[in-house]
Symmetry: C2
Subunit: 404 residues, 2 copies
């Protein structure tokens, strides 16, 4: 029976693997498990009442736009709203350069299908978002892996690559509070990167789901804004954003701001993918946010997640919490930090002991498409309260000593 279907799997899909994170997440739903594994927003912050009110408004005021088929490009008032929103970040674009997607995950999928031929070079950070790698599995790119450090992507390494003649289809970068490491591309590197893009005609795919979630300082200017400032319109940077971390992921509402020739192609592709993003989700998002909900709501997210980040940093720094030689990032925002254990400790093996102690994390090797990172892990701090974080770090320590 199996061979009837498995004999017919297309070449690109043959090597497809399940997301280890999504499989791991199924293990972490036990009520007594403290999970630092997922990338989940804190549900206690979901603006449930506002969303309920928005659903009612949408169905009363715009029943057609909420329930009928809609344009592939997205619900026009939502596109306007997103254009206004990204405009405040310096992405001055008309609403017709905004395409609404089913979360930014769909944006990644579409970009891969449009720009990656099998074997084509694609530049990525050596530690990067697993969902992008998964989206592009069937496209079979040849990854050019670039180092990252506390200042984000090593842009000079990219410059050397380009100077050496490499011509990647595009560079993929999570520019703020990167998943999984929490690092942010430094401002001077941003300027240099946009300059390199212009010099070498390098397309950049900027994934920015976390940029609003800063717990100190200010909103970092997206690469897309620098690109627009340089050229007067989006030229080298495609920008992906989402409401998943700002409102609620269950809506699956994201967006792409793209140079016009690419946008036209993305719209054509999306027609075949799903006709359009859910009308109701788009209408609910619009009615929930049109009167400024995000301006009130995002500061609440920042306050809560900032507290949780601090709780995790403090717990990790506690006396004998972690083995000597353990290092971790100190992200200025986002949802994750990145922990590097002493070299002899394998995070994958540790995970088994940690699950026995009822604490979960994601072993870091999974985020390394080129291998390596066996002694690293990603820790999420947005989903658990401070007391849980303290207890979870204690359990993690117990798992570490149990294996020592």
């Amino acid at each position: 029976m199996d061979s009837l279907w498995t004999d017919r799997i297309a070449a690109g899909a043959l090597g497809m693997r399940s997301s280890a994170i999504r499989d791991l997440l199924k293990l972490t739903t036990q009520p007594d498990m403290i999970s630092f594994a997922g990338g989940l927003p804190a549900p206690e912050l979901f603006p449930t009442e506002e969303i309920a009110a928005a659903s009612e408004q949408a169905l009363v005021e715009a029943p057609l736009a909420t329930l009928q088929y809609g344009p592939t490009e997205g619900f026009a008032p939502l596109r306007e709203m997103v254009a206004g929103w990204v405009g405040r970040l310096g992405l001055s674009v008309p609403a017709d350069q905004v395409l609404i997607t089913a979360g930014s995950q769909q944006g990644l999928d579409m970009i891969g299908r449009l720009l990656i031929d099998p074997g084509a070079p694609v530049a990525i950070e050596e530690i990067t978002y697993l969902g992008a790698l998964q989206a592009w599995q069937t496209c079979q790119p040849n990854y050019l892996r670039l180092p990252i450090d506390e200042g984000g992507l090593d842009v000079e390494a990219l410059a050397a690559l380009l100077a050496g003649g490499a011509r990647p289809r595009f560079l993929y970068i999570v520019s703020c509070f990167q998943n999984p490491t929490g690092v942010t591309l430094a401002p001077e590197r941003r300027a240099r990167l946009v300059e390199l893009a212009a010099r070498y005609s390098l397309p950049i795919v900027e994934d920015d789901p976390y940029g609003e979630l800063y717990y100190e300082g200010q909103r970092t200017t997206p690469l897309a804004a620098l690109d627009i400032a340089m050229h007067g319109e989006p030229r080298h940077v495609v920008y992906l954003g989402t409401l998943s971390k700002l409102l609620a992921p269950g809506l699956r509402v994201g967006w792409i701001v793209a140079p016009r020739p690419l946008l036209d192609q993305l719209v054509m592709l999306k027609q075949g993918l799903d006709l359009h993003t859910g009308s109701m989700a788009q209408a609910v998002a619009y009615y929930a946010c049109r009167d400024g909900l995000l301006d009130q709501h995002i500061p609440r997210i920042r306050a809560l997640y900032g507290e949780r980040r601090d709780a995790m940093l403090a717990a990790l720094a506690g006396e004998r919490a972690m083995p000597a030689g353990t290092r971790w990032t100190r992200p200025g925002g986002g949802m994750f930090l990145w922990l590097t254990l002493p070299e002899q400790i394998e995070a994958e093996a540790l995970l088994e002991r940690a699950l026995a102690q009822k604490v979960a994390f994601v072993p870091g090797h999974q985020f390394h498409p080129g291998g390596g990172g066996a002694n690293t892990m990603r820790l999420n701090f947005s989903h658990s309260g401070p007391a849980q974080i303290v207890e979870g770090v204690r359990r993690l320590g117990a798992a570490l000593w149990a294996g020592a």
Copy 2:
């Protein structure tokens, strides 16, 4: 500027074209236009109040399932509900063989990506659903086009093809009230087709969005039910269903019932596509339908659309309504009928004159991937009231005489 992006388009996406229907639909939104062009359900039937109540219930009773990230496979109670629903049609499957998709359009996209290599043979009806062709554009199949008639697919033509050694990756078929022709695969052809599938190990992709919309007789038994009856489980048939025509398309909630080895692959693929279908849309669909709404609602749809179909058939049959030699199908259900003009009349040229008369349709050549059908058109009867239908047919006649 253009070449920065267009030089990098992947080979599979290079020949991509926009859906002419979706482009045409933009022309038909003028208030005085009578459109037989779209495939839109009648919005006056949307159960808006029930959906509003369901949104509230979902957010109160299951806020996490409504707003948080969810499993790729879909919202478990909805999968159970769909399993029960398709079970009544003879698809006895456990809920874990139901995958929730973003409308059945996403199901088509996923099946193409999973099963079509460039150049691979795929058997289709010679006149078929444009959205499937669009979904598979980037996969570049080699279509084997099979004739259809009033009894649906000519299954003996398929038998001859298979006997001659052809081994398509799969057969794609809209089995009831096909889009665009309105024809339904006859019962004896169904039995024969499932037998052929078993004999030649032929996978069948059965797309069944319209099966519940019958205006005479009874629900036709899906091919998938016959396959399960023969083998005790889904073996050769993947079945695609959707709430788009039964509840509201704006939710974008559909499903795939698939043989297990294929289902596992589809889930892996969907992880990368969009993580999962919108949580809120799924929860709203579940809460709206769990107490039997569809059993009350679908008869209302049947009554209304049946009346509209009859109005269109009567108007077309009116004296001097259509030129001598014009033929049309008499569908037992669904949303479309198929009209064949005398051979010398080109529907594409007629469309221009029809738009001037404020009536729209889709020229039939668009549904012919192999060319032909210049004198055919698809007429939708679900979206316009009887008086509009009468007036629209009158305008269509006026456009025909204007060109004579």
